[in-house]
Amino acid sequence: MSLQKEELEYLSKKIGRQPNDTERHIVAAEWSEHCSYKSSKIHLKMLPNKGARVIHEKGYDSGVLDVGDGYVVTVHIESHNHPSAVEPYGGAATGVGGVIRDILSAGTRPIALLDGLRFGDISKDSHAKWLFKNAVTGIADYGNCLGIPTVGGEVEFDKCYSNYALVDVASVGFGKKERLIKNHANAGDVVVLMGGSTGRDGIGGAQFASDSLETEDRSAVQIPDPFIEKLIIEATLEARNQGLIKAIKDLGGGGLSCAISETADAMGVGIELDVTRVHTRESNMNPAEIMTSESQERMLVITDKKRLPKLQQICKKFRVSCSVIGKVTGNKVMKVTNNKTILASMPAEIVANAPLLNRPAKEPSYLKRLKNKKQPAPPKDLSKTILTLLSSPNIASKIWVYGQYDHEVGIRTVVKPGSDAAVLRLDNGKYLAVKIDGNPKHCYLDPKNGAMGCFEEACRNVVCTGATPIGMVDHLQFGNPENPEIFWTFLESLKGITEFCKHFEIPCVGGKVSLYNETPQGPIKPTPLIGVLGLIDKTLLKPQKIESGDALIIVGTTKNELGGSEYYEHIHDFIGGNAPKINLAESKKNMDSVLQVIRSGQVKAAHDCSKGGLAIAISELSITNNIGCAISLEKIPQEKLDYTKLLFSESHSRYLLVVDKSKLNSVLSILKKKNVASSHIGTFQGNEILFSDNKKPVAKLRVDKAHEKWFNSLRDLVLHA
């Protein structure tokens, strides 16, 4: 948990002397991988971050997108993996808290949360189950208390996360463009620390998160207090409304060290801070502890002397502690004092900018081996296989999870959890669709296409509500970057995401890199996660009830791509084969055509085809509408495939559309004109899901039985198994 030898030499050279102890602690926190992005920063520049809707301001921790009529949405994504792996309740809860404060820092009100949760195999691993249950409770207790609805997310279980946890949280904010905080500061301004007291929790958290997880360092995990967070949100927004905030930053990883150096650097000013003025939880904390504590629910605010009393008054109203801890200076130096004694004095620019690394990368040797592995023999009873897949915890309904989250508060949630993407109504009459997606099984076999696939899947989900993707955030989670094979998977994923961004002209408005996600058993599978925001101007597709006689249309081609499928991994415990690839031209054509059809107002429901393949996507439509479906497999656009591939391949760029039979010809003719692979493949009817090939039955399930497996499996696994 200290500076590397080369870093110490670099620092000494830059400041022209040996740094003292406090300075070393401050810089070590800020130069940790977690805060400095030293392994990834030079590569992240490839991501396109500009666009007509994108608003850039210095010092923002969240992306800002203009949604018209004077309004903006903000978005950010973060993870809290290491803390959640040792203390899942507090780790997950404080993960929620951190990302919310990033949204607040832009001057917008957080209006939604999404979370991506990943654990070991809960059907066999009781520790994974403990982590899962407590992480869900942590998120519920925190988000519910704040009154920010948790509207979506995903849950996945995979052996690669044994003894570990990935807890990703994305938050969306909304506000008036004119009320965005435009960070600026002048010499003589006052620096205020607002919120919870600074304690010994979370000390060294940033460094803890910048190494593989070998010890369970619980003291590095922060303690959640959602009540204080709620008061801070209201106090900050009230101060914003009264124009009292010149600049603001959330205290997260690296604590005060990070917040002060980064704020000073971004504003091009100096900040002088007296540690004795910081309100602490314990009386005998030493300066290094105060500077690196990651106690939660704290905001750094810069205001001027004239407006300070009003800010203090607001804090008093909400009973939020607030200390004037320092002042802004003109010399670009970050100076820390203990009363009159100078403890640290270094140029902020040096503290805030770690020396960057260009790490070596090498294609992993496992890739070829897995591709050529002998593939498992197809199952005899496909009906049974579909039922088994429906009860896989990765596919089964997540109602046990989202039923614990208040997803209605704020009264914006138009399309609720359990659908493809959540949809929120905005004050300007438009709608915002949001979704996050990851797929480590695909990414392990093909990091580039896997990452593009996650991106496309998130887009497909928002498109299924009628939304146009307007921006994305990425969260890149990998093992130890010092291993060239792991770093190669990081770079490949990043290249894939970049290509997709460029082809679709979707700007990357924010993101996060989380490295060193490994335990003594090894690294996690590459887990890039993509969050996509989609905007609906007029035609929102709110799924309608499917009725007998409705037609099922598929858009997109099913390919020989079983690699990394839920079918291979859940049914055969087999890792290998061809993972699905993205053809950008085909991807865009299919997406545009589906949007056009949805906007023509002729679609009753749209569903993307992803985990578990076509068999699962169709079953889900049937189950959630309590109606059977007769499907003619021979009509599916495909590369001559056997039944297993046809049913379970997770090829991208595929959509299912449900239309009233009177609209069938009109919809098919639009799709034909667009020249996309598409076909009328089935009819909803009766109480059986029946897959047949030229009238010969291939697989058959009763809807009620399928519903029971799909609906109850995850809950039963958590509560009873």
Binding site: A140, C145, F227, Y402, E408
Partner: protein, 226 residues
């Protein structure tokens, strides 16, 4: 018609309730911070949902000692309509404006789902437009929503017609399926489900007409009083 929405530290459905009263029902609405005095000309007051004081000790128990409670009691004594929703209901119970107590759900989890209410008393200011037995699709969202009262006092509730809403199917083991009650006089009503989340068709997946009648009843009552 002037309606107050009381905001406690940690209230989080105050803005939703305000929006519904002002934008959907066009009432003259004002927020009151828990340390404010309530003006004499207020026609009704609503205690919204949320997590006042972070649900510390027990949901609603700290807010029950807020300065504003004495003014709410005065309004209740005057027979003016008082509505507590979710945490607001918990506060009304903890401040003894309503009998009984709200316990942790038997699942021990927070529960957010849609359910159905049955109107059992249509004499209150919030139910006067309903027929007895009428059903209301509505969501709940709570961790401590299980209503409990002992046998003796339950008998009194029944006798005094204080049970306002029952759950159509008992989702959380509340005594006698109770979802909402009123005081003896009927002007103070507390309910766990969230009517403000059910009145707009855009966000109500079922039927928003019945939940609208809760607010229409209020408007009819305070309109008639004038």
């Amino acid at each position: 018609m002037k309606v107050g929405v009381v905001v406690f530290p940690g209230s989080n459905c105050d803005r939703d309730m305000y929006h519904v009263l002002q934008d959907v029902f066009k009432l003259d609405v004002k927020y009151f911070w828990h340390e404010d005095k309530l003006p004499k000309n207020l026609d009704a007051v609503v205690l919204p949902g949320g997590f006042s004081y972070g649900d510390r000790l027990r949901a609603g128990v700290i807010a029950a000692h807020s300065p504003v409670i004495s003014d709410i009691k005065k309004m209740a004594d005057k027979g003016l309509p008082v509505l507590g929703v979710c945490n607001g209901f918990q506060i009304l119970v903890e401040s003894e404006l309503l009998p009984g107590v709200l316990l942790k759900n038997t699942s021990l989890n927070f529960m957010c789902q849609w359910t159905e209410l049955i109107v059992k008393n249509n004499k209150t200011p919030f139910t006067s437009k309903f027929k007895l037995g009428q059903k209301i699709p509505i969501p709940i969202a709570n961790g401590e929503g299980r209503y409990y009262i002992d046998k003796e006092n339950l008998a009194k509730l029944k006798k005094n017609n204080q049970i306002v809403f029952q759950y159509g199917n008992n989702i959380n083991d509340s005594v006698f399926d109770i979802a909402g009650i009123c005081n003896k006089e009927g002007n103070v009503v507390g309910m766990m489900p969230h009517p403000e989340r059910a009145v707009e068709p855009e966000i109500n997946p079922k039927d928003c007409a019945p939940s609208n009648m809760i607010f229409q009843s209020l408007i009819a009552t305070i309109g008639a009083r004038k």
